[in-house]
Amino acid sequence: MPQTGAEKKRKFRSAKRMREIMTEYYIEAKTADQTGKKVAWITSGGPVEPLIAMDVIPVYPENYGAMIGASHMGSDLCAKAEALGYSTDLCSYARADIACALEDGGPIGGLPKPDMLVCCNNICGTVMKWYEIQARLFDVPLFIFDTPFCHVDFAGEARRYVRTQIDEYIGFLEGVCGKKFDIDRSREVGRLSLKGQRLWQEVLDAAAHRPSPMTAFDAFFFLALIVTLRGTTKVVDFYTELLEEMKERVSQGISAVENERYRLLWDNLPVWYRLKWLSDTFAAHGACLVADTYTTAWCGSMKYIDENNFIDSMAEAYTRIYLNIGVDEMAKTIFEMIDKYEVDGLVMHSNRSCKPYSFGQYDIMRMVQEKKGIPCMMLESHMVDERSFSESQALTRIDAFMEVISQRGPRAGIAR
């Protein structure tokens, strides 16, 4: 079908640049053995800045997991891991990654072999075992960056404990790389990282505009850079451009969803293999998922970062990320987002794969209904393993949810 003018306008021109950068990045990582660079596998919430400062290429099995999901290879790879004895209840990123590593399979012909592994448990406990397995398989050193759970605040003991590990982490990197850590370089990387996070937040903030110039599905796509390459000028340059594009869209009145009538907030990881279906299904109701807690997590703790003292302040910033805080704190973040983006409803993805994200969702839902009085829905699914997705069930739920919202009408007091 030929694209209409409006559809063409809705496409992001930055998407092309983004794909180029990601391709360059993976080529660089996959040819590291020829260029003499070292590769570290690191968890998505891990402190990547010291790696960048040491010229190590960070590689993210979780980003790769998303790629696996989006390319519909998840179920197969998960089944392979199950055949090896891993439980179906294990996170599907872990299952898919373990299967890929053993088989040299998966998209882009597998990830480049690591020289070291960096595991930060601020996102979950699964990553510890997962990285131990990979450390045994590849026979490479593993650094575990342990961030205690932060129910409300980050107190003295915990603060010292995490801060000490930063020095150990640097020592570990110096050992594996065989060179000294350059503190000036690390300051520059820290500054770039914070700048990248600020820009990312500004990009996401553009969705507060009515109609929204972007959807959460766009955010899921543009997220890859802040995850993988924060601390580099590439990220800063790219998000500067993307922000420009957002501003243009706002000033030209380009809406991500045609005739946006309802605005929704998404919670949890995306359903990677159903992005288009979900986006079309909501759009058919005139609903735009304007924001989500997931992509916000990569700029959510920048308030703890001290620009002039990145290394010290990073202890707190990496400990107080969205998945490492108590349910009340999570709910607070959601309340703020509901107000900021003026949403009509909350869509929670109960993600069978990711327990720390899905735990507490029903409590949060209740709090949202009590405090904010907006309809909420729960979509039971799975981020990568398609065997856990039932289309007709999901459709009925979404349709019913939108019927409930449309019976109430768009948010009161807002002219449109």
């Binding site: 029903y362 007709s392 009925t396 019913a400």
Partner: protein, 256 residues
């Protein structure tokens, strides 16, 4: 003005015709493998029975899992909204509807005007649905329609602890081989369905009066077990199974 509602569930297809706030008739048939055809069939049978021309029906709304296959409907709406509208039509006092159908169960909260303010549906699992009861009836070699009556004779319901339908079936089989009385096993099965449905409904702010709808509402054993859990009487009308179709016909009135 006459309107119709067609509700295509996983097992049965239902139709209802309304005229100016009065139910002219309802009908239930089997869905089979072709949802679209089942919808047409049950609709034609009903209009035939009522001596009406299909063209005399001004508006038609379809609902249920097969809602999008009913080509002659003017609009499709989900069973959530339709069950809400149906229950409100039958008794405007009702504030909570518990619907247990063939392959899913749901609960919804209504406001005074009959609008759904919140709802939950079961997750991807047959426990707590009509399908669960069907599997058990087969294992026990009892007609499902007799389940309710038989279970009321039980004095000591058996405990079925497994949530999974397949595991629960083997539990039932081992109860049979242990010589447990049939009525106790069936009462245990009803308890198990009730506990699932109740736990799901607890995610909502349940308010009385409660109405139960869906095919399973015809099973008095499940209704009693649910009443015990909710600690409140549960209203079941003679239209429980066709409530979704009635609701669809009610909502069809607003299409004009």
């Amino acid at each position: 003005m006459k309107t119709a509602g067609i509700d295509i569930g996983s097992i049965t297809a239902k139709a209802a015709v309304l005229e100016d706030g009065v139910i002219l008739g309802t009908r239930v048939g089997f869905t089979g493998y072709n949802a679209g055809m089942a919808g047409r069939k049950v609709f034609e049978e009903l209009t035939g029975e009522l001596g009406l021309e299909a063209s005399s029906i001004a508006w038609i709304v379809s609902t249920g899992y097969g809602r999008n296959s009913v080509e002659f409907a003017h609009k499709s709406m989900t069973e959530i909204i339709c069950h809400g509208a149906g229950a409100h039509f039958l008794d405007p006092q009702v504030r909570t509807v518990v619907d247990v159908g063939g392959q899913d169960s749901k609960a919804l909260i209504l406001d005074e005007s009959g609008k759904v303010t919140d709802f939950v549906m079961n997750d991807k699992c047959a426990a707590g649905t009509g399908r669960f009861l069907e599997v058990m009836a087969r294992a026990l070699e009892v007609n499902l329609d007799d389940f309710g009556e038989i279970s009321l004779r039980s004095e000591n319901p058996a405990k079925i602890s497994s949530i999974c339908t397949v595991f629960a079936e083997s539990e039932v089989i081992s109860l049979i081989s242990r010589g447990e009385q049939r009525e106790n096993i069936i009462a245990g099965i009803h308890d198990s369905v009730a506990s699932r449905v109740y736990a799901m409904a607890q995610r909502l702010a349940v308010k009385a009066p409660i109405m139960m709808t869906g095919g399973v509402a015809r099973n008095i054993g499940v209704v009693r077990a649910l009443e015990k859990r909710f600690g409140s009487p549960i209203e079941v009308t003679g239209h429980a199974q066709v409530n979704g179709a009635i609701g669809a016909a009610v909502l069809a009135c607003s299409l004009r």
